[in-house]
């Protein structure tokens, strides 16, 4: 059984290789092949899952050692996999949602002549993502980590002819690189501290608090940095919004369901390290909380449907990170929310994609409206996703998010109160902006007009290949949460890996739930009053200062631009100058001065025999004097 693990990765990798090297002759079957291999990987995942369920909780960890990768003295990196409940969860999520989105893309990318390549990239992503979650050591994880980064780069920039897309792709990769720096430094720290960077020994040692608190904190913070990069957490969140330049399926798969959650995986996976360092954990929860609000606020202000969803993604991942930062209280719920979020956010994005598909790729919600008549399936699935994310009782989001809020309170002390209330506030804002999106898109009057060339968009329902995945995901987003939570199935499933502890909640779970309901109603209500009751202006009103700031991602990009980009440009320019004038100048200067000296000495050779005689005479006098002097001293 274990030996199947490699196949999980191999299948999509093969697909990527074939599709990318295959050339045009594969154009006609490329998408099918890609989907097939994704599905194959899913099937293998399911088989392994079944096998895993067959075992009892303690020996549910499969490992497969392929070969020794980089052996240098003490430094032993292996290519070997570890499949435990945590990885299993991700494998199923990745391959499952992944396959669905492959199918969706068949329809969505139908008219793109580079569809084959698109599927190649998707497969590449799957392979990298699976490698990330299956690796049994941090260095191999790092490979997957950058692998998904590459895939994301390629897919965001898939429409490279659009400069915006190319820029967004570059930005995403660069910001991620900053995070990767953290990861690599973490690995180095592990190596120098423990002499290894394999999960087993490192985490074990962390549990035993070997290596000293400071070091562990250092490792933890570096891991957090990596997580921030990959999961678009403050301060490295800026790339996610621009990443929406990519085709919508990409946004759904990579920038909503899977890749962006890798950070959460990393934190949960390294739970032992974080547990060993409360300070680091504090930082984690702060980051989570801040991002939670940040994303939510940004989400409220965006008129671009995808950007709005992106903001929500950011904030939802904020929830997860927050949970993960809570330690054993939260790990399970972080993952659980991650899974449910995977369903409904993917669903929402696919819905958005379907809308755009029907609206000539229009993304501005102010130009939508009343679409529920035109695309019922999309409306229903999107609506279910909506209900799920705002945490409508009984749907996935309700369970997972509720748990996180509880856990936040359960942190105890003032921290607990602060975090809990932040989480609640976040829930309220979530309800607000999602309702806003919902209303602006599907309700109210139709607000679309003919575009420049004068042809009016004809909204229509998308083809089966697109709707079916949406339906499946909608089902998931309705029932997953309940399925997991009834009898704490998910808790027991994951506990052996992440362990779990009930904090001491200052307030009862029911109270929390009630509070959540209240804020939910408030948030949704506000949105309804603002957008449902009166018509939505096609041109965005100027809006309050906060709104305008939020539209610009709370000015964080401007900050980057001014400080990093401009500053960097100036730095490089001045360095180029320095290199040319100073470093090179010294060299050329020396040469020049020698030349000048030569020119001057040359003048001595004035062609007059008598002056030559003078120099001889002088020379003679000189050496006579010198010889006498030598004897004198």
């Amino acid at each position: 059984m274990e030996n199947l693990i490699a196949l999980l990765v191999a299948a999509p990798l093969l697909g990527a290789a074939v599709l990318l090297c295959g050339g045009r002759r594969l154009d006609r079957v490329g998408h099918l092949l890609g989907t097939l291999l994704a599905a194959a990987s899913f099937v293998i995942g399911v088989v392994l899952f079944a096998d895993m369920l067959g075992k009892n909780a303690d020996d549910r960890t499969f490992t497969q050692h392929l070969f020794s990768w980089i052996p240098v003295e003490g430094f032993q990196a292996d290519v070997s996999f570890q499949l435990d409940q945590l990885s299993m969860t991700f494998v199923l999520l990745i391959t499952g949602v992944g396959s669905l989105i492959h199918i969706y893309s068949i329809g969505y990318m139908e008219h793109d002549e580079r569809r084959r390549r698109f599927f190649g990239y998707l497969n590449l992503f799957l392979a990298a993502m699976l490698l990330l979650v299956l690796a049994d050591n941090y260095l191999l994880l790092y490979v997957g980590w950058e692998g998904v980064g590459l895939a994301s780069y390629l897919l965001i920039g898939f429409w490279q002819h659009k400069p915006s897309a190319a820029t967004a792709a570059k930005k995403a990769f660069l910001v991620n690189r900053v995070g990767d720096m953290g990861l690599s430094i973490a690995v180095m720290l592990m190596f120098t501290t423990f002499g290894t960077f394999a999960f087993g020994p490192v985490l074990k040692s962390a549990e035993e608090h070997l290596g000293g608190g400071a070091t562990l904190t250092g490792i933890a913070l570096m891991l957090l940095l990596a997580a921030c990069g990959k999961s678009a957490q403050v301060p490295l969140q800026s790339w996610l919004g621009d990443a929406m330049e990519g085709p919508t399926p990409v946004s759904a798969l990579i920038h909503a369901a899977t890749m962006v959650t890798a950070g959460v995986y990393l934190i949960v996976r390294s739970g032992a390290v974080f547990n060993a360092s409360p300070d680091a954990q504090l930082v984690v929860v702060v980051v989570g909380a801040v991002t939670l609000l940040f994303g939510a606020i940004v989400g409220c202000a965006k008129d671009d449907i995808k950007k709005a969803l992106a903001g929500s993604t950011m904030s939802q991942i904020g929830y997860m990170v927050l949970a993960a930062g809570l330690g054993p209280i939260g790990y399970v719920f972080a993952i659980m929310h991650l899974v449910t979020h995977g369903f409904f956010k993917a669903g929402l994005f696919l819905g958005a994609g379907s809308v755009m598909h029907g609206m000539n790729d229009e993304v501005d919600m102010r130009k939508y409206g009343a679409l529920r008549k035109y695309m019922p399936v999309t409306f229903v699935t999107f609506g279910l996703g909506y209900l799920a994310i705002i945490g409508f009782p009984g749907l996935s989001g309700f369970f997972s998010k509720d748990k996180i809020i509880e856990a936040a309170f359960a942190k105890g002390g003032t921290e607990g109160w602060i975090l809990g209330s932040v989480a609640l506030l976040g829930a309220a804002i979530t309800a607000y902006y999602m309702t806003r999106v919902m209303i602006m898109t599907f309700f109210g009057e139709k607000r679309w007009q003919p575009d420049g060339e004068g042809h009016e968009p004809h909204p229509h329902e998308s083809p089966k290949s697109m709707t079916i995945p949406m339906i499946v995901l909608a089902v998931g987003s309705v029932f997953a949460g309940g399925f997991f939570s009834i009898g704490d199935r998910f808790l027991h499933w994951l506990e052996p890996v992440t362990e779990h502890s009930h904090g001491n909640a200052p307030i009862s779970a029911t109270t929390v739930t009630a509070a959540t309901m209240v804020v939910l109603v408030v948030g949704a209500g506000l949105a309804y009053l603002q957008y449902g009751r009166r018509p939505v202006p096609v041109v965005a009103p100027r809006g309050s200062l906060l709104t305008r700031a939020a539209r610009r991602d709370l000015l964080q990009d401007d900050f980057n631009h001014v400080v990093l980009v401009r500053g960097g440009e100036h730095l490089t320019r001045s360095l180029v100058y320095v290199d040319h004038t100073l470093v090179d100048g010294v060299v050329n200067g020396t040469a020049a001065s020698v030349g000048g000296l030569s020119g001057r000495l040359r003048k001595l050779q004035n062609g007059y025999a008598r002056s030559y005689a003078v120099s001889m005479f002088g020379g003679a006098a000189l050496i006579v004097a010198a010889t006498l002097l030598m004897r004198a001293v």
Binding site: E73, E146, T193
Partner: protein, 523 residues
């Protein structure tokens, strides 16, 4: 005595060079094929060397030793350790591609200029360089090494000055001026380095009485040869200066951008991927082994310089407007990593550095040659003159991207392995240095992606709208290199196994051991 394999490996290309030069002017194509065949034959010989070499075995293998100049105590002594074997293999591997890539670079009628550039000479010079590089990797006699270390400047000089890049902004005259400036700069820089090293070489002779590396190392080890601290330091500086110029290390780097910018892409590859490696190789083999104490004494300064090279080179690469100069500055940054790894004095660092030499050779070759193909199509080296190429020439763009990704050392491609080893090796002994060096990976991403974005993406520029995609010959150059990059990225074990023993020896020469982990990891 057995067949002189090492000599043969070096002599074959030398003979080939003479033969190629002798091909009559009319039979240009014949000369090309001859050169290609010779380089392939050399590759075969190098493979035999690789096969005959036992990683676990004696430190120097396949040794040959003959009297040469008794008067100077100079012997014709050859011998290879794992590091040398790896680099010889790299050299022999790259040559056929260099030749193939330069197939038309020296064709009079195709260059459309009356310039004197006989194809025969071009390929003969390339083979000549190969011969000299290989023998300087093999030499275990300091003097012998020095001879070829210096002599290889001359053919390189003619390659740079005689066969410049046709894609030039200025007029023909201006181009010629630029080119000879670059060539002279290259030669003088390295000559000065070499001459200062000559003084040190003589000094070494005065102190040691012979030039045999193994003998001197042994003598120093068993105390029969004492070197005063100051003497050792001076000699070390003499040697290191030459190697630092060759490598090149900041602030001795300014010749590289000119040389690589003006030379044709294959020659540029020859410079940075092969010839410069002799410098870093020599640091590892001669500086550390002959002057262990001085090496340790100088380490702090060298580490700082290496750091500066890394960051500085990367930042300047970002600031370049010329594709080839950008690659040149990127190389400077990479050489910083190599030197960092060497002087970190850990087995990870030094194995990484050696691996880095190999990988950087391949990755730069891939990137630079593709860039060369691109430049030869459009006839301009300026980044600003390109845009949207991937639309018209996707394969070219793809290979270019892979080359770039290798340059930014993406995991899964060869350079990542070596770069990470260097970083870990450095971090293990000098954490701060290691962390600062890590910034290099961000900057690397920056300049690579900026380059790719500006040239390949965006709307298609009218000038590039008609660019043909890679031809078969060009694919034959690029594909194997990329394959090598991926293979060595996924399975570098063969190389590391080859290198590790040699590195162990070197470390024991400098009396250094890897720092132990802080704690015993829990099982």
């Amino acid at each position: 005595m057995s067949f002189p394999l090492l000599t043969a490996t070096a002599v074959l290309p030398a003979v080939g060079a003479v033969a190629t030069a002798a091909v009559p002017a009319a039979r240009r194509t014949a000369a090309k094929w001859l050169a290609l065949l010779v380089s392939l034959a050399t590759l075969v010989l190098a493979a035999v060397v690789l096969a005959r070499f036992e990683p676990g075995g004696a430190r120097y293998q396949l040794t040959e030793s003959h009297a040469w100049i008794k008067e100077f105590g100079v012997r014709y002594e050859l011998g290879v350790d794992g590091i040398a074997v790896a680099l010889i293999a790299l050299t022999a591997l790259l040559m056929p591609f260099v030749i193939l890539a330069g197939w038309h670079d020296a064709d009079p009628q195709e260059t459309g200029s009356s310039r004197w550039r006989p194809t025969q000479g071009f390929f003969a010079l390339i083979l000549g360089v190969e011969a000299m590089v290989i023998i300087s990797f093999e030499a275990t006699d300091v003097f012998l090494f020095y001879i070829f270390f210096e002599a290889m400047l001359i053919p390189m000089y003619f390659l740079i000055g005689g066969f410049g890049d046709r894609a030039h902004a200025g007029s023909d005259e201006h181009a010629a001026a630029q080119r000879s400036y670059a060539a002279v700069k290259f030669l003088l820089y390295n000559l000065v380095g070499g001459l200062i090293m000559l003084a040190a070489v003589i000094g070494l002779y005065v102190v040691a009485g012979n030039f045999s590396l193994p003998e001197i190392v042994a003598a120093r080890a068993n105390g029969s040869l004492h070197m005063a601290t100051s003497t050792e330091r001076w000699l070390f500086l003499g040697f290191f200066f030459a190697f630092a110029v060759k490598a090149p290390l900041w602030p001795l780097h300014t010749w590289l951008p000119n040389a690589m910018g003006e030379a044709t892409a294959p020659v540029a590859v020859l410079i940075t991927a092969v010839v410069d490696k002799v410098g870093t190789f020599a640091m590892l083999r001669f500086c550390l082994q002959l002057f262990p104490e001085a090496s340790k004494w100088a380490t702090p300064v060298i580490l700082v310089l290496a750091l500066i090279s890394i960051v500085y080179g990367a930042l300047l690469a970002v600031g370049q407007r010329d594709i080839k100069r950008l690659v040149a500055y990127a190389s400077i940054s990479h050489f910083g990593f190599i030197i960092l790894g060497i002087f970190a004095m850990t087995s990870q660092g030094q194995s990484g550095a050696t691996l880095y030499m190999v990988n950087h050779g391949i990755s730069t070759a891939a990137l630079m040659l593709v860039a060369g193909f691109l430049i030869s199509r459009r006839g301009s080296r300026l980044i600003a003159d390109y845009g949207g190429v991937q639309k018209v020439a996707p394969v070219l763009a793809g290979t270019f991207l892979i080359g770039g990704l290798a340059t930014l050392s993406l995991p899964g491609l060869a350079p990542f392995v070596s770069e990470f080893l260097v970083l870990v090796g450095t971090f293990a002994r000098y954490p701060v240095v290691g962390i600062i060096a890590t910034f290099g990976i961000v900057l690397a991403a920056l300049y690579t992606l900026v380059l790719y974005q500006r040239t390949m993406t965006g709307p298609v520029k009218p000038e590039v709208s008609a660019l043909p995609d890679l031809r078969v010959r060009e694919l034959a150059v690029v594909v194997p290199l990329i394959a090598a990059l991926i293979f060595l990225g996924v399975y570098p074990k063969p190389v590391t196994d080859l290198v590790n023993p040699a590195v162990k020896h070197t470390l024991s020469d400098v009396h250094k051991t890897d720092p132990k982990p802080a704690v015993e990891a829990a099982k």
